[in-house]
Structure formats: structure tokens, C-alpha cells
Amino acid sequence: MALNALEETALRDLDLARARTFRLTDHLGLIRGSSVVAVILLWEFFGRDVNPLFLSYPSAIARATVQLLAAGEFQRQALGSLQVYAVGLSAALALGIFLGLLMGRYRLAEYLLDPYVYALDATPRVALIPLLLLWFGLGASARIAVVFLSGIFPVLMNTFSGVRTVSADLVEVGRVYGAREGKIFTKIIIPASLPFIMAGIRLAVGRALIGIITAEMFAAVTGLGALLIRYSSALATDKFFVPVIFLSLLGVILSRAVEALERKMAPWKKTERAL
């Protein structure tokens, strides 16, 4: 806010502007930046001294990145992983939202399905990986199944509780204005639970990513997870960090993207915290 003339005079009179001393809390960005730089420098400095079998260092990782990208192997495996991820996640989102809406709105569906949903939701999905590999083999379908199972429950549970928390008042508004079940579903229930659905999607995106990496690491045949295993058994620590960093960036980008979508699709509401 701009100061008016009287305030300007008062300020000059008090001579306060210059009196404010240096404070660390006024330079948080600087602290943040120097902290990052310091860690990278320390890592580079000490990392060079450590046996390269155990720890790499930033410049070696950068070199390995260039090398892997030039060879094209990394891109091919990443593409394979991403395709499986996209297929499994799309299926998980579609079915998760559908079942969540159904179970939230219709008690019969809820009672018929909730024993399985709760049981599977409580079971760590990673524990299913050996079984899924046994059933589906080492091809894409096992990994798709893992991604699907990792992603579906957060979406389903959040959609379900979103529908359940739609206030009865809003449904009543729809009825007063003559809306039938179909209209109530599309114009009241779905928009009202959208923030919850989006929160579920945000969770699912991360869980599915963990699912696919774990499955690929366990099967150790294709994909980024397999690269992790391959480089670590070859004791190529510098190369090992390339997929790790790629996956971190991917995780951040995906969850940022979902958050942006959330704000765009539900501008009327603060982001719903996920279950």
C-alpha cells in the first residue's frame, strides 16, 4: 500500500526506514538457495573421495545422464514404463470413480462391495506383486495390473466419501427445482464431490508410480525399475541416480499438474485434503 503525504512525513521524521537492522528472516530465499548449493558442493567434494561403488557425486551423475541419453536405452525403457503407467492409471481412475459414485449413492452397491474394497484397501498392494507376476507373467499385463491396483483405491475411497458428504441440503435444492435422479447425479452429486475426486486422483498418481517402479524392480526385466536393479547390480552408482532423479521429477511434475487441474476444475473450493 502506498503511503500518503502525512505518513511519508511521519516516517521521515521517525527515521525508521534505515533503522531496521539486517535480519536473517528477511532473506529466506537466500538461505534456501545457499542450503541447496552447499549440499551439492559437499556431495561433490566428499563424493569424489568415497569409493564410487557406494556413492556417486553430482558431476559424475550429470556425465552419466548425457551418456545414457545418447545411447537411447534410457528413453526406450522410460517410454515403456510410462505407457504401462498410463494404461493402468486410466483404468484405475475410470473404474475407481465409477464404483465410488455407485457405492456412495446406492446403499445396495455399498453393502455388496464394501467388504472387498475395505479388505483390499487395507492390504498393502505391493504384497500382491509376486502373485500378480505369477498369474500374468513378466509382460506388460502384470505391471498394468499392479498400477491399476495401486491407483484404484485412493480414487474409489475419496470419491465414495465425497459422495457421502454431499450435504442433504444440496440434494434437496435439486429436488425443489424438480430435478430427477439423473439430473441430481450430474448437476449436484458429481460437481459437489469433484474436489474429493480430484484429491483421490492426486493420491492415485503417486501411488501408481510407486506401484510400477516396485513391480519393475521385482520382475527386473523391463522398464525404469529394471534399470535401477541393473545399474545397482553392475555397481554403476552414477547411472543408478539417473532414473532416480527422473522419477522424482516425474512425481513432482505429475502431482503439480493434478493440483493445477484441481484448482481449475474446482475454483470454488480450497483443495480438499485427501484421505
Binding site: 536473517l24 528472516t25 529466506l28 530465499g29 538461505i31 534456501r32 542450503s35 541447496v36 549440499v39 561403488l53 557406494f54 446403499r107 445396495l108 455399498e110 453393502y111 455388496l112 462391495l113 464394501d114 467388504p115 472387498y116 475395505y118 483390499l120 487395507a122 492390504t123 498393502p124 498392494r125 505391493v126 504384497a127 500382491l128 506383486i129 509376486p130 502373485l131 507376476l133 505369477l134 498369474w135 493420491l203 508410480l209 510407486i210 517402479i213 516396485t214 524392480m217 521385482f218 525399475g225 536393479i229 545399474y231 545397482s232 547390480s233 555397481l235 552408482t237 543408478f240 532416480v244 522419477l247 522424482s248 521429477l249 512425481g251 513432482v252 502431482s255 485434503r273 485427501a274 484421505l275
Partner: protein, 274 residues
């Protein structure tokens, strides 16, 4: 109820009972659903290749066998021991560092970028590296469990502390409480619902960490049994282990929820991030 109400109902000739409705008995629907599923599985499963699919009664007898030989209880205890150590470690460090990061903007600025980067990294991806560093023993499992459970606690504690209203801190200052007292008597209790929400999320992730750690190190614990029987194509025994994981997950989440309700009775459950 006043007798006049009874008289009015009688006078109006209203039925005393609502007509029978299936929705008054949800557990009946659930039981029917589960029973249908189990029978279908039993019938279909018996006809299929036992290497691939098993059936409920086979799972049951496998469970009895694994309990009888003592293998299941032994491996369960081994799993729980690592889970306990890793989890306690993550609660202690997560709450401690979270309090510091929530209270001091300088500490937050210094740690925040690294914590976010580590949190964003899928922790599973680091397991091969940890295996190179720490071998295959007890330590690595505890460390993996720690790395899974630590961040939700840290982040929830920090944001809980940051959310403590300035007004509440001012109450403390008005009564001349020391820094220590403000931290212990105002900030910590006010942030407790957030912390507990973080703990609830962390326990689920800790179980995942435990399973992953045991799958990859494959020496002891329930996860190792899973790998072993997977390699032997003993599907029924795999199911036993998966069911134990499920029960363990339910029990632990219920327990933390109960703890959460007890410790933050004054507040509606705070939903947590992630």
C-alpha cells in the same frame, strides 16, 4: 414419550412398524455377497490349475499348517520387530524435526528444499542403493521402513505447528510463559491433531515399506515368505501371507485411529496431507 403422542399415533391409525426393508440389515447383504464370492471362488478354483489359482478351503488348510509349524508366528514377529524399530524412529525424528521446522522459518528455509526433494523421490527406487550400503540385515529393513514413514510425520508436524494460531501463542505470552512452556503447553498440544493424522498415514506407509523391504531382501519376515512361496508356486500359502498383511494393516490403522481420537479429543479429526 408422552402418552399423548401414543394416543395420537393410535388415533391416526399409523402403523407401528415400518415395512421390512433389506436396508435395515446391511450386514445380511454383506454376508450374502461374501458368501457368494467365496463359493464361486471355491467351485471355480477347484477346477483350475492349482499352480495358478487356489481356493478358500485350501487357503484355510495352508493357514492352519503354517500356524501349526510355527513358521507364520515366527516370521510375523520378525516383521513386527523391524516395523516397530523403524516406525518409532520415524515418529521421534519426524516430530522433533517437524517442531523445529514449524517453529523456525530459518530452519524451514534451510531444510525444506531437501526434505521436499527426498519426499518426492519414490522411496522404493532407493532400495537398491540402500542394499549396497547396508547389506541385507535388520538395519536395512528398519531404514527402509523409516524412510517410508518419516516424511508424512515430518510434514504434518511442521504444518500443524505453523497452523497454531498467533492468538494462542499470544495467550501464552500474556501469561508470561517461557519459550519452553509455550512450546510444551501451547504449540505441541495444538499441533497434536495434525501430528496424529501424520502418524496414521505413516503407519500405512510403514507397512508398505516393510513388505517392500522384505520382498527385496527376501531373508526373513512375511515378505520373504511371499517371495519363497511364489517361487515354489504355492499359491495357497501366498494367500495366507497376503491375508495376514491385510489383517495387520486393518489392526494398525484402527489402533492409530483410536489413539488419534483419544489424544485429540477436543478436535474433529484433522485430515492430513498425503
Amino acid at each position: 414419550m408422552a402418552s399423548t403422542d401414543e394416543q395420537i399415533i393410535a388415533e391416526l391409525g399409523l402403523r407401528r412398524e415400518r415395512p421390512w426393508s433389506i436396508y435395515d440389515y446391511p450386514n445380511l447383504i454383506r454376508a450374502a455377497s461374501v458368501l457368494c464370492f467365496l463359493s464361486a471362488w471355491e467351485i471355480y478354483g477347484r477346477r483350475t490349475d492349482p499352480l495358478l489359482l487356489t481356493y478358500p478351503t485350501a487357503v484355510l488348510s495352508a493357514a492352519l499348517q503354517l500356524i501349526g509349524t510355527g513358521e507364520l508366528p515366527r516370521q510375523l514377529m520378525a516383521s513386527l520387530a523391524t516395523l516397530g524399530v523403524g516406525f518409532v524412529l520415524s515418529v521421534v525424528l519426524g516430530v522433533g524435526l517437524g517442531l523445529i521446522m514449524g517453529r523456525s522459518r530459518i530452519a524451514e528455509a534451510a531444510f525444506d528444499p531437501h526434505m521436499n526433494a527426498l519426499y518426492a523421490t519414490p522411496q522404493v527406487a532407493l532400495i537398491p542403493l540402500l542394499m549396497m550400503w547396508l547389506g541385507l540385515g535388520f538395519t536395512i529393513k528398519a531404514v527402509i521402513i523409516f524412510s517410508f514413514a518419516f516424511f508424512p510425520i515430518l510434514i504434518n508436524t511442521a504444518s500443524g505447528v505453523r497452523n497454531v494460531g498467533a492468538a494462542m501463542v499470544e495467550v501464552g505470552r500474556a501469561y508470561m510463559a517461557s519459550h519452553r512452556q509455550i512450546l510444551l503447553k501451547i504449540i505441541f498440544p495444538a499441533a497434536l491433531p495434525f501430528i496424529m493424522a501424520g502418524v496414521r498415514i505413516a503407519i500405512g506407509r510403514a507397512v508398505v515399506g516393510m513388505v517392500v523391504a522384505e520382498l527385496f531382501t527376501a531373508i526373513t519376515g512375511l515378505g520373504a515368505m511371499l517371495t519363497l512361496y511364489g517361487n515354489l508356486f504355492e499359491t495357497a500359502k501366498m494367500f495366507v501371507v497376503i491375508i495376514v498383511f491385510g489383517l495387520l494393516g486393518v489392526a494398525l490403522i484402527r489402533a492409530t485411529q483410536a489413539l488419534e481420537n483419544r489424544m485429540a479429543r477436543w478436535k474433529e479429526t484433522e485430515r492430513a496431507t498425503r
